[in-house]
């Protein structure tokens, strides 16, 4: 028991050491290939697009002012798109990312686009680009939880006043989650479809199609753990060969032809039959497909 505990403890220490080593090894290789286009006056295109004509001009003006103020404060573009045309969820996701990049005229700029859907489908979607990918990418659900407090339900006719509050509240959400962001060298977000990584390494935001230090660390940890498993398998399999295992079957000592069966009978007793219904199994399911959108976005949405 004590020996087993010692072995378990050694393995725990080895795993911790390997995880630490993986972190060290990752730091050896410099980060390269930053595609990110940082926020500056050239790439400042924050805007409110009210395609549903929900707000009057005064409301629009106020909201635009709020969006730009928030954008300058957070040093990233903020686009709010109000929609009343039906689109499927997949279409919303593709449209949002593409619309943002069309406004920017370039990929990988710092910013977010909030698609607020006042149609009956009401699928709101937040897409993040550039440094926003790492700040908000892992918090989309939390952001929507916060945002939902001021987001009117699609069951009622859209009330412009309430949606003004929604947009303002969204800007506050951006501020709040930006303030709460904690930099971590090995944290990263990934646009799975396009293989784009978002991360903040040593205080600098990166958007790259090379692997992120965090993803490389995970891969290295897996490789090191695989090495440990290989070590264990090798060690045990070789050690097993150093155990004594030969044995002679005592049947060789039975005197040939001298076994005398005094009774050797196989008497039939009974027969019975059981039956079971064969359960037919059917499988079904569906699949989800989505069209392509421009690269370098992470995001998420929710129905209201």
């Amino acid at each position: 028991m004590k020996k087993a505990l010692t072995i378990i403890l050694k393995y725990i220490i080895a795993i911790v050491a390997l995880i630490f080593l993986a972190g060290l090894v990752v730091r050896i290789r410099p980060v390269k290939g930053n595609l990110r286009v940082p926020f500056d006056s050239r790439f400042n295109f924050s805007e409110l697009y009210d395609t549903a004509d929900l707000f009057d001009s005064t409301q629009e003006k106020e909201l635009r002012k709020e969006i730009i103020a928030c954008s300058e404060e957070l040093e990233m573009n903020i686009i709010v798109y109000i929609n009343d045309v039906y689109r499927s969820d997949e279409e919303v996701e593709d449209f949002t990312a593409n619309y943002y990049d069309r406004c920017a005229g370039e990929e990988y700029t710092d910013g977010v686009i909030m698609y607020i859907d006042i149609s009956s489908n009401a699928y709101d979607y937040l897409s993040c680009s550039g440094k926003a990918g790492i700040i908000y990418g892992g918090k989309i659900e939390d952001i929507f939880d916060y945002y939902a407090a001021k987001r009117p339900s699609s069951q009622y006719a859209p009330d412009p006043e309430k949606f003004c509050e929604t947009v303002t509240h969204f800007c506050n959400a951006m501020r709040k989650f930006n303030d709460n962001y904690e930099q971590a060298d090995f944290a990263y977000e990934k646009d799975e479809e396009n293989g784009i990584y978002f991360f903040n390494y040593k205080g600098k935001f990166y958007v790259t199609d090379y692997s992120a230090p965090g993803s490389r660390r995970i891969r290295l940890e897996c490789i090191f753990i695989l090495g440990l498993v290989l070590y264990t398998i090798l060690y045990l399999s070789i050690k097993k060969k150093y155990k004594f295992k030969d044995k002679t079957n005592p049947s060789i000592y039975v005197a040939n032809g001298q076994t005398n069966f005094k009774e050797k009978s196989d008497t039939f007793i009974r027969v019975y039959t059981t039956k079971h219904k064969i359960e037919s199994s059917s499988s079904g399911g569906g699949h989800r497909s989505g069209g392509g959108h421009s690269g370098g976005h992470v995001g998420g949405g929710r129905h209201f």
Binding site: V25, V26, R29, Y210, S211, S215, R216, R219, L220, I223, F224, L226, G227, L228, L230, Y231, L234, Y235, I238, K239, K241, Y242, K243, F244, D246, K247, T248, N249, P250, S251, I252, Y253, V254, A255, Q258, T259, N260, F261, K262, E263, K264, S265, D266, T267, F268, I269, R270, V271, Y272, T273, T274, K275, H276, K277, I278, S280
Partner: protein
């Protein structure tokens, strides 16, 4: 009957299996051996005793006398081994622990073996076999492969108790033959049950058990079998150039081991006769040893031991057939380095390929 048996001095009767005293058990009305747990009817024991020959021939008396006069016993003060050899040679070192031994005197006739199988394998052949065996094992300590160690291979006559057992096998089981088929949306299973009975007299011949407590039983079992066709009456000439061990475990001591092996052999015989069933559930599976005939013999073994980290590792070669067995010592440090090296190399290659270093 009970009174008659109670009056009988049951201790006069010896257990046919292990030679211990038998006692009458009033509950079962049988003579039982408290040592090996065998039990016999009074009639059976009386018939066995009637057949026993008590006379010793003059030739046998002469052989015992020669044995007493021409054997020397050496004692190892370190591990307690008793080594015997003929009076023409002197044992200097213990075959087991390699410490010096001292002359301890002569042996009495009771240690004279009945039979012996002479060595057929020379020391050179035994050494070559050992070298071949060790070549396949990379991780033994360097000292285990050294010339000095090879020179420690000792030709040793190991004392064996060899038993022939008469076994009464009683087996009863439920045998099942199962057939399945599908009809419509149902799967049918037909089970035919049979009462399987086997009662047999099984004889085992020549199950050996070494009478030396120091040598691992499993090791000696692993180099079996010996070819008993080459058994000869014991003569002092066989000891010339070799050493022999004095037994320190008597018949009663080895009987449990013999009984287990004999019963296992008997069970195998019975199992082999029960065929054609998909499932067999035994309800009775008894294999009682009714009688055991013993022989005390010396069997040839090339023996080597190696002490590594306070543990003795034994290695043996059947001196007649050349079959070898042993537990190789493991140099854990060497093994860890090897496994660590391989794992590290694989990890580096995988790290370069998939860890993002070549991208």
């Amino acid at each position: 009957m009970i009174k008659e048996m109670m009056g009988l001095d049951a201790a006069e009767y010896k257990c046919p299996n292990c030679n211990a005293d038998l006692k009458f058990d009033p509950t079962t009305q049988k003579l039982t051996c408290e040592y090996c747990m065998s039990s016999f009817t009074v009639e059976y024991i009386k018939s066995v005793c009637a057949k026993a020959e008590n006379s010793i021939t003059a030739a046998e008396q002469q052989a015992a006398s020669d044995f007493e006069e021409h054997t020397s016993l050496f004692h190892c003060a370190s591990c307690g081994a008793d080594i015997m050899c003929d009076d023409q040679q002197t044992a200097l070192f213990c075959y087991y622990c390699h410490n010096p031994v001292i002359l301890a005197g002569k042996l009495t006739g009771e240690y004279k073996p009945d039979k012996v199988i002479g060595f057929k394998l020379t020391k050179e052949v035994a050494t070559d076999k050992f070298k071949d065996w060790i070549r396949q094992r990379m991780f033994v300590p360097s000292g285990f492969k050294s010339q000095q160690q090879l020179e420690k291979i000792t030709g040793l006559y190991v004392p064996f108790w060899v038993a022939d057992c008469d076994i009464d096998a009683d087996y009863c089981a439920m045998g099942k033959k199962i057939r399945t088929w599908t009809s419509g949306s149902y799967r049918y299973t037909e089970t035919k049950e049979y009462r399987v009975v086997r009662k047999a007299d099984v004889f085992t011949k020549g199950i050996p058990a070494d009478g030396e407590s120091k040598i691992d039983d499993q090791l000696m079992e692993a180099i079996e079998p010996f070819d008993y066709k080459e058994l000869k009456d014991f003569s002092m000439s066989y000891l010339s150039g070799f050493f022999a061990d004095k037994y320190d475990v008597d018949k009663a001591g080895v009987f449990p081991h013999i009984r287990d092996r004999a019963q296992k052999a008997s069970r195998n015989v019975i199992s082999a006769s029960v065929t054609g069933y998909d499932a067999v559930i035994p309800s009775v599976n008894q294999h009682n040893i009714l009688n055991t005939n013993w022989q005390y013999m010396m069997l040839p073994v090339w023996f080597m031991s190696y002490k590594y980290k306070d543990k003795v590792y034994e290695f043996a070669i059947n001196g007649q057939t050349g079959k070898l067995a042993g537990t190789p010592p493991l140099d854990v440090r060497k093994l860890k380095l090897f496994c660590g090296g391989i794992s590290a190399a694989v990890s580096v290659v995988l790290g370069l390929l998939f860890g993002g270093f070549l991208l």
